[in-house]
Symmetry: C2
Subunit: 329 residues, 2 copies
């Protein structure tokens, strides 16, 4: 018998999440049955998508959704032997029973000197999101100029570096001077702090006077309304996130983009990385290869202690993290 802790969505978020929206639950888990494994979380992930997903995919009393790197500590499933590591959609839990359907093995040949936490970041879902967004949605070409916002986040950092690998000019927007400095370190051509520029429009124009071929959109809201005006004709926009609107109690409104979309003949596409599940193994290997070649650098914002998950989640939503927000159990 193992004591399993989990974080429950006690109350649907109304505006910005509050500590009291979460509730820690402790239960005893039975032994795994035939075909099952018992998992122990090593690293857990907090990601922006959890905020809107909680509203549409969860009811009060559910365990918070999420992915983790876990170690198999008991196994009655030969596909997942004791001691192996998996990435599992187990939710915010220290321990979980699984029949394996919601698990994938951590990439084969994961190098011993690379933290497994990267399987939740640059060499995991956020990295794949960046890769599929730039290659499959934007079809980014050498020589083009790409704009990415929330650029110092788990996805944005990878987007910008992939664009540099592809020979593009990259402009990033982030919410602190330290993040801007980090973007420059990563090789971004231009970066600015959207909170301190006197005009977002002017900042975008200055960073690329000719406008933007591609825009990897993580922020939404007013940023999107301003950025769309700076697109070149036939510009492409990959809509990955909308973090500036996730905590609105009432939906934010803005000017309709139709006329600009018509006159500039823009294309805009929303996506989730799960669409390219079939490309996952090959894509993770490419991300790992770039990481080993130091073409893809990454930083993590690690919070220690499972009990601190709600705080880590709220901090991530406020932009406290540079790079991927990770919880180490």
């Amino acid at each position: 018998m193992v004591q399993a802790k989990s974080w429950i969505l006690a109350k649907h978020f109304d505006g910005f999440p509050k500590k009291s929206d979460f509730q820690l639950q402790v239960e005893e888990l039975p032994e795994p049955k035939d075909g099952e494994v018992l998992l122990e979380a090593v690293f857990l992930s907090v990601d922006p998508y959890m905020r809107p997903f909680s509203r549409v995919r969860m009811k009060e009393g559910d365990v918070m959704i999420g992915t983790q790197v876990a170690k198999v500590i008991q196994s009655k499933n030969p596909a997942f032997p004791v001691g192996s590591h998996v990435v599992g959609r187990c939710g915010w839990r220290t321990h979980a029973l699984s029949d394996g359907t919601d698990l994938v093995h951590v990439m084969p040949d994961w190098p011993k000197d690379v933290s497994l936490s990267l399987a939740l970041g640059t060499i995991g879902m956020p990295g794949l999101t960046a890769l599929f967004g730039t290659e499959e949605v934007l079809k980014l070409q050498k020589g083009e100029t790409l704009l990415v916002n929330a650029a110092a986040g788990a996805v944005g950092t990878v987007v910008g570096q992939i664009a540099k690998i592809k020979g593009c000019k990259v402009v990033g927007s982030a919410g602190s001077d330290a993040k801007v400095a980090y973007l420059k370190e990563l090789g971004f051509d231009e970066a600015f702090n959207y909170k301190t520029v006197s005009s977002l429009e002017e900042a975008l124009k200055k960073a690329s006077p000719d406008g933007y071929d591609c825009f990897f959109e993580n922020v939404g809201g007013i940023f999107s309304s301003v950025a769309i005006q700076q697109m070149k004709n036939f510009g492409r926009i990959a809509v990955c996130g909308s973090i500036s609107t996730y905590n609105d109690a009432a939906p934010q409104t803005g000017p309709y983009p139709h006329l600009t979309m018509i006159f500039k003949q823009l294309k805009m596409e929303g996506f989730m990385q799960s669409r390219w599940e079939h490309k996952r193994p090959e894509s993770l290997m490419r991300l790992m290869a770039w990481f080993k070649e130091e073409k893809l650098k990454c930083r993590e914002h690690i919070t220690n202690g499972f009990e601190n998950m709600p705080a880590a989640f709220m901090g991530m939503l406020q932009g406290e993290n540079t790079g991927k927000a990770i919880i180490a159990v």
Copy 2:
């Protein structure tokens, strides 16, 4: 010497156009020089795009932009002999001198029993807009369900009929019961009067409970915000127009569509038919063939008299026309 009348944009439109924003001008045109032709307008076109284009492409004092079917009445350009008919971007003018660069011949072998006015409608720019929007942008497939708004207009009527030719289910929205009856006559599977339905959301759900694969967007504004929620996963939206917003003194605002675009993985693309100029001749022949086979029917809303152009334009913006709004000189 010929007396040429033209309509001037005397004052930029502020909100809905007013009679006093236009000014009739009369001038005498000289003889055509070498390489030039003198044209006499036969049919002129008023189209929704003129409203937003006036703001971005014109200054006060310019002749109103627009296309016409004209007859060559004097010619010093062997490419355009006297008596031939052309489609010209001459603006709102009864007569014009042209060096031929802004002219195209009316389709060769134009049947004698088909009014040349159709070269401004179903077998002209609006027809091409409908064709390229459904084929090139939406890539509409047999068996899919398509929504089109402003469905009884010059573009919408063609969109719906092309979708029927392709074996699709078509739902149309229009602004009067007479228009709705006309859409049914044209073979639309479902049609409704958006002005009288108690809920646009319910009307869209009732017309297609499974949602929409494709949406040909002519209206914008609140219609777009409601319709986007009724798209199926991986739905495609061709943004052709936004007529409900053209006369706003201050830009209309609405909820940002990002989250819906992400969760449903929608694609949205703005376009203008001029992008496929190279496909124009072949496409006009297809439209004409469908018309001759009575697969493509059309109706025109004809205003007589050049002096009535501003009224015809304002009427079209208010939805007075069923089918193409045409001015017969």
